[in-house]
């Protein structure tokens, strides 16, 4: 598909990179020559200099024949205007990043009148993601694929977990009654392993298991991880994300405290969120945090504007024994460093915005080109989940998986058959028409026959 990306900022660049890798033709529009130069050097995209809200620029970029326009400039108004004009010129779908809560209130009218097919709100998206983590505190990260029917949950294995220190194929045999989930990937010292039957999970590993949500919930109950309920939350920073998050979790019966340094902002929040406990003070001040009862909190969420501040206070909270710490961080390059520090739940609004948009784009792809139906990047791009449709004449059809040769470092993770999801084991086989999800460490797999051979 031909996709226009307006605004070559953090989000725009990541989107352009991802979309070219998924074999789309991408045109990037921005006003800044230098930014475009960098993009032209690193990505195989067409760069057009100009204001994306200018019809002539959009025409030059080929808006008349484009399938999707994604607008991610810093201005909501420009984003909306770009979508409106591109739609009039003939672009099929429009996605706009809209930040301002004022616009969000009248979003339905705006979307209808301006022809915006999807409005992305990074702040709210981040809040939703954090809300999910608070609902399932045992998980350090949740990703869903196969149209949301399969979840992949990431958690850190502890010494007392029953699954550690034994080969993966023994887990289901030796532990009676353990719900059957797929051990999709294990992160150890920054490397991703796709476990085979002999792989041994060690304490401290980041384990990714995948199944549908019901099975996952039962699985964590078996591990004894679900006894933790979040009741008290302390949020650092009174940003828009904090506002959305508080609004979302207060009805769940969670008691929310928000610490904000700016007096005006604090007053404003207090007015909007009467149920929340708003504290005006410096959240980086450890004494202040202790005073506000950090030790008694079930969760600490660092959402200030500075990544470094978030990381340091998050670390402090973690050392103080807060069971669940969520930290906002936009620097992808910090991630490997943070891994060593023991902070598990790192949230990146940039990544969340991108994956929300990518999800929408992928839903519009109609198979053309490669045989990959869908592609998901997992664990910050260190692994991929690829979805294929099994074809009638392929040699592996009807043969039990244990009799097939599966390419090393790949895994048949999930089979979706007639809308039903299941995790395949050795006795199962693939039928024609099944959606098969493969998890792989290496990029570039383009055919199911490359993975499974007789």
């Amino acid at each position: 598909m031909r996709i226009l990306v307006v605004g070559d900022g953090k989000v725009g660049h990541v989107l352009a990179e991802q979309l070219t890798q998924e074999a789309h033709d991408v045109v990037v529009i921005d006003e800044d020559e230098q930014v475009l130069q960098r993009t032209e050097d690193t990505l195989d995209v067409l760069c057009v200099r100009g204001n994306g809200a200018n019809a002539k620029t959009l025409m030059n970029a080929g808006a008349a024949k484009a399938d999707i326009i994604i607008t991610a400039t810093h201005s909501d108004e420009v984003n909306m205007l770009c979508c409106l004009i591109a739609k009039r010129l003939g672009t099929k779908y429009a996605i706009a990043r809209i930040r301002d809560p004022e616009y969000n209130e009248s979003l339905n009218i705006l979307q209808q009148e301006l022809g915006i097919d999807m409005a992305v709100n990074p702040d709210r998206g981040t809040a939703v993601e954090i809300g999910r983590l608070l609902r399932f505190p045992f998980a350090t990260g949740i990703e869903s694929f196969a149209k949301g029917r399969v979840e992949m949950v990431e958690f850190r294995a502890h010494e007392e977990d029953a699954i550690v220190n034994m080969p993966v194929h023994d887990i289901n045999r030796k532990l009676r009654g353990i719900p059957q989930v797929l051990y999709a990937a294990v992160e150890r010292d920054g490397d991703v392993h796709i476990p085979n039957g002999d792989f041994v999970i060690l304490p401290g590993d980041k384990v990714h298991v995948s199944a549908d949500m019901v099975t996952i919930t039962a699985y964590f109950r078996y591990l004894g991880r679900d006894n933790m309920r979040i009741r008290n939350v302390l949020i650092l920073g009174g940003s828009r994300t904090s506002f959305y998050l508080a609004k979302m979790i207060i009805p769940m019966g969670i008691h929310v405290s928000i610490m904000e340094i700016d007096e005006k902002k604090a007053e404003f929040l207090s007015e909007l969120l009467p149920e929340a406990n708003i504290i005006c003070g410096d959240g980086t001040d450890q004494e202040m945090l202790e005073q506000e009862g950090l030790q008694n909190m079930d969760a600490f969420i660092a959402l200030s504007n500075r990544d470094e501040e978030n990381l340091m206070t998050g670390l402090f909270a973690s050392r103080q024994g807060v069971p669940k710490v969520v930290v906002k961080n936009n620097h992808v390059s910090y991630l490997d460093l943070i891994n060593d520090l023991g902070l598990d739940s790192i949230i990146s609004p940039k990544t969340i915005t991108c994956s929300n948009i990518l999800r929408y784009v992928r839903a519009r792809v109609n198979g053309g080109g490669t045989k990959v139906e869908k592609l998901y990047r997992l664990m910050n791009g260190k692994a991929e989940a690829l979805e294929f449709i099994a074809r009638l004449n392929d040699p592996y059809i009807g043969v039990p998986l244990r009799d097939l040769h599966i390419r090393p470092h790949t895994l048949v993770a999930v089979i979706v058959r007639r809308g039903k999801v299941f995790v395949p084991f050795g006795n199962d086989h693939i039928e024609a028409g099944d959606n098969v999800v493969i998890i792989a460490c290496e990029a570039g797999i383009s055919d199911l026959n490359e993975v499974i051979r007789r």
Binding site: D25, V27, T42, D44, V45, L46
Partner: protein, 482 residues
């Protein structure tokens, strides 16, 4: 420096070069000229060297940075020329290694300077290969490799930018491999059209092919000692004049015309500059040489052809312009400092650069009268950054500097006079072909020493790759281990 990646990519490109020798091999078998073994031997050597490099060297890191891109481009051109020279040596046409290398570099860089002592009775396949290098080098071999090996690297912008003509890269569709495909389709279609036109003027298929390659690549190798003049075919001269102009314009323009955007495509400011320069010089040269020929028609015939030939940096000739009045010679020499358009197959500093420099100079003059006046330079309908202006100015300084340094070095031979040495260096850097004096259109470069031939080869490569990739080869930074 990621040497593995560079070696891997070079292996792939050299394999492609082996494939490009197959047509010449076919010609050899077709005419039975006995030179087939030189191609078989060269193809064998290429495969022997390139296949292991491509198949056995696997880079861990596949992202091409600017430095690897530059190194790949420059090494690729040097290696291509070394292997491309082998058929000349094996067949005995040019037994001297330096001669063969010079001739091949001159071919790939679309210069058209020659050291060939005689043209008659040479194997046809060798003459075909000699001209075919023009056609390949015109659009670029790396660009060609992107079509067949689209996944050669994730970041191909560096490769194409280093090889394509002009300061900026003009992509026409989002994918670089698709852009390369379109460029070659346009290039191939126009070449075919030219070939058919030349056949219609009465040229033999072989002559037509040779002159198609020379014209399309704006190279200038002919299979006659007296170049195009020897055929004495006015219709063919007119066809070639038109097509030399066609191939000196931006190839992307023709794609836009086909796509129906001809109004925008023809609005190009560079194109208007180019056509104006061509028109003015055609008139001036014709008027200057009118007295010599006595007839306006003859003056027009030779004037227009020579102007088109020099500005397109082809270097064909219908007459020995060495014998023209000094004023006419100087006009042609000036054209060598202009060159073809950005994104064309031609050489020289490029019209776009010269046009911007003229505009910048005019602004500088205005600035002395009105120091407070703010004036942003505009080109192709948009503002141009001052950093771009200084980049271009610096480019031109180095460009002329290379010419002067080159002329200095080849003067050490002590064989030729000042005019010959100076114009030899200028014509090589500008990729034109003939110069004045002993290296004029009817002369050749055979009189130079081995050292001078190597110097001139470097100048030709530097001119074709627009200086920097070749300078990079001489820079210690690139050879230092990280």
């Amino acid at each position: 420096m990621n040497y593995k990646l560079v070696i891997h990519n070079l292996g792939a490109i050299l394999l492609l070069e082996a494939a490009t020798m197959v047509p010449s091999l076919a010609i050899s078998l077709l005419y039975g000229d006995g030179a087939w073994f030189s191609f078989v031997l060269t193809i064998g050597l290429l495969v022997l060297v390139a296949l292991p490099a491509w198949k056995l060297v696997h880079p861990e890191e596949k992202n091409l940075r600017a430095r690897e891109g530059f190194l790949t481009v420059s090494l690729c051109w040097v290696l291509m020329s070394i292997f491309g020279a082998m058929p000349f040596v094996f067949s005995g046409v040019l037994p001297g290694v330096a001669d063969a290398f010079f001739e091949t570099v001159s071919g790939f860089t679309t210069t058209g300077s020659t050291v060939l002592p005689s043209f008659e009775g040479q194997p046809r396949s060798i003459m075909f290969w000699r001209s075919f290098t023009h056609w390949l080098g015109g659009m670029g071999v790396l660009v060609l490799s992107l079509i067949f090996l689209p996944r050669i690297s994730g970041r191909t912008a560096h490769l194409v930018r280093a090889e394509s003509a002009g300061p900026t890269l003009s992509k026409i569709v989002p994918r670089m491999s698709d852009t390369a495909k379109i460029l070659y389709v346009v290039y191939g279609a126009l070449s075919l059209l030219l070939f058919v036109c030349l056949l219609l003027t009465g040229l033999s298929p072989f002559d037509a092919a040779i002159h198609t390659f020379g014209t399309a690549g704006t190279g200038g190798f002919s299979n006659y000692a007296m170049s195009v003049g020897q055929m004495n075919n006015v219709a063919a001269e007119i066809v070639m004049t038109v097509f030399m102009i066609v191939f000196s314009t931006n190839m992307a323009m023709y794609f836009r015309i086909i796509r129906g955007e001809w109004r925008d495509a023809l609005k190009s400011e560079e194109l208007r500059w180019f056509l104006s320069i061509v028109a003015v010089f055609m008139v001036l040269v014709t008027l200057t040489i009118w007295p010599e020929y006595g007839s306006l028609a003859t003056a027009l015939r030779h004037g227009t052809f020579q102007v088109a030939s020099i500005i397109s940096t082809s270097g064909f000739a219908t007459v020995d312009f060495n014998l023209w009045a000094p004023a006419a010679q100087l006009l042609l020499l000036l054209l060598m400092f202009v060159g073809a358009c950005v994104g064309s197959t031609g050489g020289g500093p490029k019209v776009g650069r010269i046009a911007l420099m003229v505009k910048a100079a005019r602004r500088e003059v205005h600035h002395t009268f009105q120091p407070r006046k703010v004036q942003v330079l505009r080109f192709e309908g948009r503002g141009v950054d001052d950093s771009m202006i200084s980049q271009i100015a610096m480019f031109l300084v180095i460009y002329v500097g290379m010419m002067l340094l080159g002329a200095m070095l080849i003067s050490l031979d002590g064989v030729h006079d000042l005019k010959t040495n100076l114009t030899a260096a200028i014509t090589c850097v500008s990729n034109v072909g003939p110069g004045f004096g002993a290296v004029g259109p009817m002369g050749n470069f055979a009189g130079y020493s081995v050292f001078s031939k190597l110097v001139l080869s470097v100048l030709m490569l530097a001119g074709r790759l627009e200086i920097y990739p070749i300078l990079v080869l001489f820079s210690p930074v690139i050879w230092r281990r990280n």
